[in-house]
Amino acid sequence: MKRTLFALFLITTLLTALACERRGNATNGSGTGPIVVGYYGDLSGRTSSFGQSTKNGAEMAADEINKAGGIDGRTIQIIVEDDQGEPNKAATVVTKLINQDKVMAILGEVASSNSLAAAPKAQAAKVPMISPSSTNPAVTQVGDYIFRVCFIDPFQGEVMAKFAANNLKAKHAAILYDFNSDYSRGLFEFFKRSFTSLGGQIVLEKSYTQGDRDFSGQLTAIRSANPDVIYVPGYYGEVGVISNQTKQLGIKAPLLGGDGWDAPQLWQLGGASLNGNYISNHYSVDDPSPAIQKFVADYKARYNISPDALAALGYDSMKVLADAIKRAGSTENTKLRDAIAQTKDFPGVTGKISIDKDRNAVKPAVVLKLENSKFVYETTIAPEGSTPPATSSAPASGASTAGAPAPPAKAASPTN
């Protein structure tokens, strides 16, 4: 009896696999049928807010395109996979999307560590992958099929360093970063380089690891170093607690961060302790431009929540991909790759997107101030010419800031 059951089980599994295979092949035609796009992200792990927002944005974009008649009459179908925020699972689900679902392009991931794990799979299979929001330079260096629609860490680190030095008039900065995150380490390096080249001094560097709950040891050491600002380029889960404990230790220096802070859960974790901190980000919901306001209104109507930057980037990544498919006139991989690479001045929600020779998007960043559970627009800082080379040796020399110097009221230096 057991044997029969086992045999039955084996047969069913094989049949299912075959069926999937056939379905996959059927959708791979280049002429008709839906355009199958894979999305992978963290939908249930520690950074699931990122994955959910990005997915929401991408799906909304796909629906808009489909409602408007699709691309040359073909609709877009997104197949969603959850990688639980773990790099090895990211690689697995991307392999599944490529081999089983036969997707024509891939959107994902948010966290650079996960994108870095999955990108080699896409590159090897020559399937174009667009990361909505992985900012570590190494991601697109994986190969010529890997793109992104966001700026990169050297620029994001530089933006905050400039804001701290020019707008906040900070001389001494302390850094608290996530030791195991490619994203956090990248921002830490580039902030440090820019800030010191602007005449500032890093008084203390401390680290933590994702999942830590107590930061009072690091923060007490930072307090005794007496910095003007504290740079915390982490993700919202830890940052909310860090901000909380900063207040409990009576530290008055503001915390500065990056786009990894941008999640609704940040406010629940940090509450009022977050007031007066600053982050660099991809766009601001307060931006009065009609395109952004329409996006914000549509998103709110659909999901009943205000879109964070990751939702906007998810939306943009889908739109950039659709634009490239339209221009390529085909979903054939080399043509699609070339079309994405040629994207120029695409009007995205997060700014005009042009893909440079390193397959990164060149666009400005905004600095937002945290006030009463809201990100309030502070200033915009634009890149000069092109972004610095993705590898090291990117001194922050040239680039000037569009936003700085800020009006005197906002430049009040935080003395303690």
């Binding site: 520690r46 680290s207 909310g240 909380n244």
Partner: protein, 308 residues
């Protein structure tokens, strides 16, 4: 000087939580010679029980000692029930087999609880409501830069009260006498007319409720709770129990405070002697190895063990 005092406060604050959890390890070990590896997860269950109580009663964040007391008590009761269920349905049926079987069962229970929680509510961190207003209020200044926050004061006061209460129960009540009798010899205790099953059940209940108190208290300081929060904290509390002498109640408290202080000092001062702050977790386990090599019975577990 003020920085040193501050780091000491931080360290003892973390240590108090380890101590509360270590008590559960040590009590169960004393009575059954079982390392209850699911205990760290009971701590997590306690934190989530508090979270869901607050959510269902609509106790929003906002300074209210009453809300905190209610949530604390509720989560201790729920965790006590969870502890008794684990004992009744996982450990009691295999108690008559070898100790290895029970140990493997404990690991299985631990993984089961963690994955059930991940599957049911997701691994994303959740924010425990702040009942002390510590997000907006400045801390209380002691001297120089040294300060202590309201959450830290509450953590110290409640954990000391619970430890004193436990000491009283174990040494001054009839139930406590029975617990000590069972820990000396289970079979003789049974012959003396003690309902050993009930006593073991009670031991799990007490240990679990202490862990839950630790979970709720720590969430007042670090509001970030997730289903895997009990793994590392539980292991460190276990090390604390071994350091103090497993089976020894004051030892568990001492061990917890020492581990908490040690890791905070590594974070605070380690870089001055070339140890990065990321070594904080390695410290506890280095201590475990040293204790096992140099003093296997632990700091206070030398001659006469008060196994409870």
């Amino acid at each position: 000087m003020d920085t040193f005092v501050q780091q000491l406060i931080n360290g003892l604050n973390v240590g108090a939580i380890y101590a509360l959890i270590a008590l559960g390890y040590t009590m169960v070990y004393g009575i059954l010679r079982l390392i209850n590896f699911a205990h760290g997860d009971v701590y997590m269950v306690g934190a989530f029980a508090g979270y869901f109580i607050a959510l269902s009663l609509g106790l929003a964040a906002g300074p209210s000692i009453f809300s905190l007391a209610l949530v604390l008590l509720g989560s201790m009761i729920i965790a006590a029930i969870v502890g008794m269920i684990i004992e009744r349905f996982a450990y009691r049926p295999v108690r008559k087999y070898s100790r290895m079987t029970t140990l493997i069962m404990a690991i299985g229970v631990s993984l089961l609880i963690e994955n059930l929680f991940v599957a049911r509510i997701g691994a994303a961190p959740r924010a425990f409501p702040d009942f002390l207003g510590s997000q907006s209020q400045p801390p209380i200044h002691l001297f120089g830069n040294a300060a202590i926050s309201k959450a830290q004061i509450i953590i110290f006061l409640v954990s000391i009260a619970l430890m004193v209460l436990l000491q009283w129960v174990v040494f001054r009540t009839k139930v406590g006498t029975a617990m000590r009798a069972v820990s000396f010899n289970l079979n003789s205790a049974k012959l003396m007319g003690i309902n050993t099953d009930a006593i073991i059940s009670l031991t799990f209940a007490i240990g679990s409720s202490l862990a839950a108190a630790g979970g709720v208290l720590t969430a007042q300081y670090n509001p970030n709770i997730d289903p895997l929060m009990g793994i590392l904290t539980g292991l460190k509390a276990f090390v604390a129990a071994v350091l103090g002498g497993i089976g020894n109640i004051p030892g568990a408290v001492l061990g917890g405070l020492l581990i908490g202080a040690a890791e905070t000092f590594v974070v605070g001062y380690g870089s001055q002697i070339g140890i990065a702050s990321t070594y904080r977790d390695a410290v506890a386990f280095a201590i475990l190895i040293l204790v096992l090599l140099l003093r296997p019975s632990g700091l206070l577990g030398s001659t006469v063990q008060e196994k409870v």
